[in-house]
């Protein structure tokens, strides 16, 4: 899953990421459900089915956790339910992920978003109402496709809070 990834701009990064990624995947005993890659400041995200957490043996779980701790390239997102939350529609209207047709999306899954930054917009009667975050977050999953009609307060994205100190550390490691 290489959403919004542009190799012509980041070909050097891409190659580095691709190698790290294949190494990482090889080393993991349980293959993830989803892998998200971001080229900008380089982020790799792996996701497993919640069901697999339940069915796998304790040994495997330990193995996965240890692998991940040893692996400096990846950022695992086995987020707990508590840290995840929804960004909700500020109004009833049509949800857009980009500022204009053909423009790049405000955010893609995996992006880290700063407080006050726009992540989407809802159009109601030609009035554009920005969807913003008040906290530093990571976009985990976008629930509504571009151009979908939404009600007030309807969940648009699953996000998780990102600790400032934690990400600074990650960036250094990368």
């Amino acid at each position: 899953m290489m959403n919004g990834f542009r190799p012509h701009q980041y070909s050097a990064d891409l190659e580095a990421v691709r190698q790290s990624l294949s190494r990482l995947i090889e080393d993991i005993p349980i293959k993830p459900r989803a892998v998200r890659v971001r080229a900008g400041k380089v982020a790799i995200e792996l996701e497993w089915d919640p069901a697999e957490h339940v069915v796998r043996t304790p040994d495997q779980a330990v193995a996965v956790d240890e692998r991940l701790r040893q692996e400096p390239v990846a950022t695992a997102t086995e987020s707990t339910a508590e840290s995840k939350r929804h960004l909700r529609a500020p109004a009833v209207g049509v949800f857009y992920r980009r500022s204009a047709p053909g423009a790049k999306p405000f955010v893609i899954e995996g992006d880290i978003v700063e407080p006050g930054q726009q992540v989407g917009l809802v159009e109601a009667m030609k009035i554009m109402i920005p969807v913003e975050t008040e906290e530093r977050i990571r976009v985990v999953e976008i629930l509504k496709p571009d151009g979908e009609s939404v009600e007030y307060d309807e969940p648009l994205m699953v996000v998780e809070l990102v600790d400032v100190a934690q990400t600074a550390e990650e960036c250094q490691e990368i």
């Binding site: 009833v92 209207g93 007030y152």
Partner: protein
Amino acid sequence: MFRKILIANRGEIAVRVIRACRELGVRTVVVYSTEDRDSAAVRMADESVHIGPAAAKRSYLNVPAIMEAAFRTGADAVHPGYGFLSEDADFAEVCHANGIVFIGPPPEVLEGLGDKAAARALMAQAGLLVLPGSQEPVDTAREAELLVDGIGLPVIIKAVAGGGGRGMRIVRERADLIDAFRQIRATAQMLFGDNRVYLERYLEHARHVEVQVLCDSHGNAVHLGERDCTVQRRHQKLIEEAPAPGLPASVSVTMCQAAVRGALAVGYVGAGTFEFLVDRDGRFYFMEVNGRIQVEHPVTEMVTGIDLVAEQLHIASGRPITVRQQNVRPTGTAIECRINAENPNRDFVPTPGRLTEFIPAGGPFVRVDTFVSAGARVSPSYDSLIAKLIVWAPDRERAIARMVRALDEFHVSGPNIHTTINFLREVLQCREFRESSHDTGLVDQLFVERRQLTSG
């Protein structure tokens, strides 16, 4: 007839409109605020759209949100109920511009009648008697003083954009005039965003009588008789009845004809109410037109057998009115009591909260229009009306007895909850009301008597 109607309102009136639609085979969409997500209207409607948070400004007054809800559900008409956007000319215009029928008068009619000073002038032109007062909004204290020199005291200062009993004040002493004038301008600015006010002579000992009219888009107009809404607190109605007790038939007839004449003069379309003040000599003066369905419409329905909301839908869908004036024959007496979650002993302050008990009245000729049940929460964000209790009987005496009986059956309680039930019973049983010798001062008078009783 419409296929699908969006109801841009809440509470009992949203439920009332859904019921009419159901009977006509029209699908319904209600819009709701977060506060109303578990409401009766949301449960009863075919579809619902969450349009905003509790604050009315961001939900029930939020035009873009309501229009979006209409688009996404494919509604072909909007019923605005009463209050909120029901008399908002701009909203009516936005509906038309987007190909959605606004169930109410045309925007230009709402615009004309929404300016209370202009409405007075329009009706005076149509030959209706208006109380002596300003022709135009009064902009300076000096102008107000000159006017009072001409028309005498007492006067009532009213906001041009006012409504729902808000933005008005009575002045009895000349010394109070300037203060009252400034204060009501400031209040009007705050409430309506329009500080213009007008003055008219205030009638003491008057009765508030209004005429229900129906006008279609083919130039037909009928009246459905009058309602008496004299029992008010702070200019807000508590008890309404039809017909007006003690009003001579000749006065009733000329008043109803005047209302029809006024409606035709302004090109009115839809259901509307012409409000008058009637003095002790039976002279009636035009006050204002309410361009919407009113809270008290059931009393007219009960005496005429005409479903006013269904008529609104027929008219809005372009059909001619089917009812002929000669077939409108009000029968018996209907009375409505407004059961509000408020404390009559503390100047009718609203008492929102959870209802642990809600047992409505029943039995023959009793109608309860409500949207709450035990366990429901009365929201502090909206008005305090929780139920309308309406009874019918062949005559007024029996209607009062039936209403007292029904109030006895009605039980509402909850932590912090007070209601108007006991106070309403007190009014119905007082001598002035029974003899129909009361006037708009009745509620204040009852409180004065109470204080005298407790201090004596």
